[in-house]
Amino acid sequence: MVELVEETPSTKSIVLDLPGWQGHRAGQHVDVRLTAEDGYQAQRSYSIASAPEERHVVLTVQRLEDGEVSPYLVDVLQPGDELELRGPIGGYFLWESALGGPLLLLAGGSGIVPLRAIARHHAASGSLIPLRLLYSARSLEDVIYRGELERLGATAQIDVDFALTRAWPERWSGHRGRVDAGLLEQTEWSPRPRPLVYVCGPSGFVEFVANALVGLGHEAGRIRTERFGPTG
């Protein structure tokens, strides 16, 4: 591990130098395995936050208070430490330009991580495919990669919107409260160009959003989902 970046009070990005890394595709994950001195091991999966074009592989990890692996990665791991991982894993929840678009990305909480890899890959590959990202977070302080996403949203073919579910600044002009069908409809292009949709976040968020999109007439086969459980 070469660098640690604090993204929010509970979230850090772990920058890895991986000799012999075979490369990955945007949206894939890795399995991280920790080994204690007595041989006890614990494994979890984490999404890759970086684009394939980048020199380092980056994982962004949110500390779960009762977690076993995430508190170690966020609070104990230091630059210079070694980390055992396996991957890249996953061949479905990923995007590359051959899959086309337009791209509709819907993130809840730390579900932004693989979608950020997709957005970065989109930018790094100079894609002209229209991309819209709606990111639901508890408050502005909980938004991961905020500055970067705001910059991305200022480019011609990319739109970025935040929905804040618990707290918002006094003059917040974005959505307040949970994502609902009305907000999804607003976020969409009109008329709808058969977008490819990626939904990632906590299970309840993904369940609601994916069902609402089907209700709005999206093709189920063009909606790809990945759920983050409270799994430590």
Partner: protein
Amino acid sequence: MSPPVSRGFRGRGRSSIEAARVPPGQYVTSDFPVLSAGPTPSADLEEWSFTVLGAVAEPRSWTWEELRALPGETVTVDIHCVTKWSKLDTVWTGVSVDPLLDGVVTSARYVTAFSDGGYTTNLPLADLRGGKAWIAYGYDGAPLAPEHGGPARLLVPHLYFWKSAKWVRGLELREQDAPGFWEGYGYHDYGDPWREQRYQGD
């Protein structure tokens, strides 16, 4: 080569119960996490059927009512997801696969289970016979919730849980094994959690 020790990592350790019941690389959760590749399909029970087809002399089919009229079983099993969680003592109600395959004469050795929404998974026919697999429609005394695979899912608890196809609609018997949905993306064709067969090549 032994894995590097993670400096400063102690972990929770495992109780002796966990050590005996939880396969390598898994941890116990009390939640019931949900995993699926796309939206949850909604099923119309009037239109629903369960079909056994493929390398069989005669395809067979059951309506929802016919399936529910078969003798049900309630089983308590441990389940193991490839994303590392295991859940102990889960209680399911459903129909054993054995009566559904009763009297089926086939040279097939493999099965592709298929589901609403297009999901498929492959497994050896032998793993569905002998009281090891069910079509489950109840969980914890209630109808199986859609996000957990309702109205009915395959339940094959001795394999990683992606083999327990949600929203299952039938079994295609096959002479040759063919990868299902996740298997086509690099997950293991068999998926024995005790041998940690997560990915192809394990």
